[in-house]
Amino acid sequence: MKIQVKNIYKIFGNKPEAQLGKVKAGMGKEALLDETGHTLGLNDISLDIEEGQIFVIMGLSGSGKSTLIRHFNRLIEPTDGHIIINGQDVMALPERELEDFRRHKISMVFQRFGLLPHKSVLDNTAYGLQIQGVGKAERAEKAGYWLEQVGLKGFEEQYPHQLSGGMQQRVGLARALTTDPEILLMDEAFSALDPLIRREMQDQLLELQQKLHKTIVFITHDLDEALRLGDRIAILRDGELVQVGSPEEILLKPADDYVQAFVQDVNRARVLTASHVLAPAKLTVTLKSKPQQAVELLKEHSSEYACVLDGTQLKGLITVLDAQRALNDNADSLANYLSSVESVRSDTELEQILPNILSNNGAPIAVTGKDGGFKGWVSCEKLISLVA
């Protein structure tokens, strides 16, 4: 377990502690504001975030996303509750150890970049190391490496205001990675970027994550982004946690109308994959089966075709007619009577499968795993029910 959030409450105002009792007794955000003038930022948030995950926190503006993520490195103190990281209660850290924790274990990428305008790109990237007291040569080397990783080699001596938004955020990302933290906090890191650059940055993040396996807490108010990046997604509303689950769970089993409203406009064909429309094969025969057996099996199941496997690998399709032909020819095996079959990998997005189905004139499409093993067929009924 990497990060545990335990019953975090945050109330903004003059005397937050005094209002805690009312909130715990069930007073909502609006009532609290009307009665006491205090804003309920977070209401009893508990979460578990696994190591190596990209954990996405979503919600509308004002739902408390920024407030929550700033609790992880204690830029904001909670009114009540604990954050436990690697077994250590962050709220119990004294000032010095907190600084140390921020220097080495956790870093952050900001929505408005938060670059230092008076420092060069290289010095910005090396800022975390400078704070740690690392020597100049080592700083330059590490910062240079990460700038190259995010594609900014050659811009070391420029200043932030000379870069485009997308480039500035790459500096922000490089700066966060340069201290080699275990945890990366990203507060709407890509929201200020235009859609194309944004998609590029998402790809880059996913690519880096494949190598780095950091624990990433990523905030967004964009469901497409959440579904693309998130291993798990938490949804906040008015400071309360509404649902936590995998992207599929959020999409297919929204907990309430709020989440439903979020997901209804999403382009499912882009998010869901072949594994979501998988129908297990009713009938399989092996390559070694005799034509006689195949014909009998097909008749028994009154099926027009069966798939033919060699071990787990899909070899092709045998139709009733072809099986009959093999029997008439007195063939040894079905090997020469197979027709080829279209197949897609289970992580293929539905969007890419749709054209195949149309061009395939209703012929079945097989789904294979990453190792090429046969998993089943694309179910047209499921596909239509999910995408339509």
């Binding site: 490195n73 830029l75 600084e99 140390d100 924790f101 921020r102 220097r103 080495h104 870093s107 952050m108 900001f110 408005r112 970049f113 938060g114 670059l115 230092l116 305008p117 008076h118 800022y127 975390g128 400078q130 704070i131 740690q132 200043y159 205001h161 000379q162 700066r175 201290t179 906090l185």
Partner: protein
């Protein structure tokens, strides 16, 4: 006629009494306290007056070049100083210059830390704001009386009076500059584990620098505005020339001394301004 609520005569008397008490009991220790400043001022004054005139002009030319990286400005500043010498006010000019430098230096030493404290502690800021208002609006003669009583006539009270009048803009602009630092940038530095010292020297002061430089510029200008008054309590220099001109109704003497003060003002203004400009540009794209 406004009714007399209490005896103001008594009030004035008791104020006078406490100042008298302060003077009789502590004047010596106050004077001892100020000896180091006096020593610096006298040393600087002797240096400037003792050095050959061309060496001083050369020095100013180099300082202006260092501040602005412009030979043109450097040449202009030298010409201004030459002008002061040419109208026969070199010696007085050097006296005023020395006083200005010490007063500005002390203002920086006092003003920037006070400004930082104001930006860091809201309560201190609430106390300081009215104090600064008083320092800037109270007629300087009012505090000249007790200052002179405490320190006697001479250079030290002149420095004090000048600082009291000239330091508020620097304090205000330091406070403002630090407050204007982008909260996002400061938050980022905290997120990377910067402590208070690293935040102050790495982020807040560098980003507030353009405002602080503007404050120093204002302070030098206000200090020059004080030279005539300062000379009334024994600071000599160009202010004294103006006073003599007034007393003897010698318009020419007063005018020339006035022009020399203007020349010094331009000198300080251009040098501090171009330094400030260059620093804020260096921050952005060096």
């Amino acid at each position: 006629m406004f009714p007399e609520l209490f005896s103001t005569r008594e009030l004035r008397k008791s104020i006078d009494g406490s100042v008298d008490w302060l003077v009789t009991n502590y004047a010596d220790s106050f004077e001892a306290l100020t000896q180091p400043f006096l020593a610096i001022l006298i040393w600087l004054e002797q240096l400037l007056r003792g050095a050959p005139w061309w060496a001083v002009i050369l020095g100013v030319a180099l300082v202006s070049y260092a501040a602005s990286r412009s030979w043109l400005l450097s040449l202009g500043m030298s010409a201004l100083l030459f002008f002061i010498g040419a109208i026969g006010l070199w010696d007085q000019g050097m006296q005023t210059l020395a006083l200005m430098l010490v007063a500005t230096g002390l203002s920086v030493v006092i003003g920037i830390p006070v400004g930082i404290l104001m930006a860091s502690y809201d309560r201190f800021r609430k106390i300081m704001l009215p104090v600064l208002d008083i320092m800037q609006t109270m007629p300087s003669f009012v505090y000249l009386i007790p200052v002179v009583m405490l320190f006697g006539l001479g250079k030290v009270p002149a420095i004090f009076a000048t600082i009291i009048y000239a330091v508020p803009p620097l304090i205000r602009l330091t406070d403002l500059g630090i407050r204007l630092v982008d909260a996002d940038v400061l938050e980022a530095s905290r997120a990377f584990g910067a402590n208070r010292r690293q935040q102050l020297f790495g982020i807040q002061l560098p980003l507030a620098l353009p405002n602080i430089m503007a404050g120093i510029n204002q302070t030098t200008m206000m200090a020059l505005a004080m030279v005539v008054i300062a000379s009334m309590i024994g600071a000599r220099g160009l202010g004294q020339e103006v006073l003599i001109g007034i007393n003897r109704l010698e318009v020419g003497r007063g005018l020339l001394a006035g022009l020399a003060i203007v020349a010094l003002a331009i000198l300080f203004d251009r040098i501090t301004q171009s330094l400030g400009k260059r620093m804020s540009v260096a921050q952005q794209d060096s």
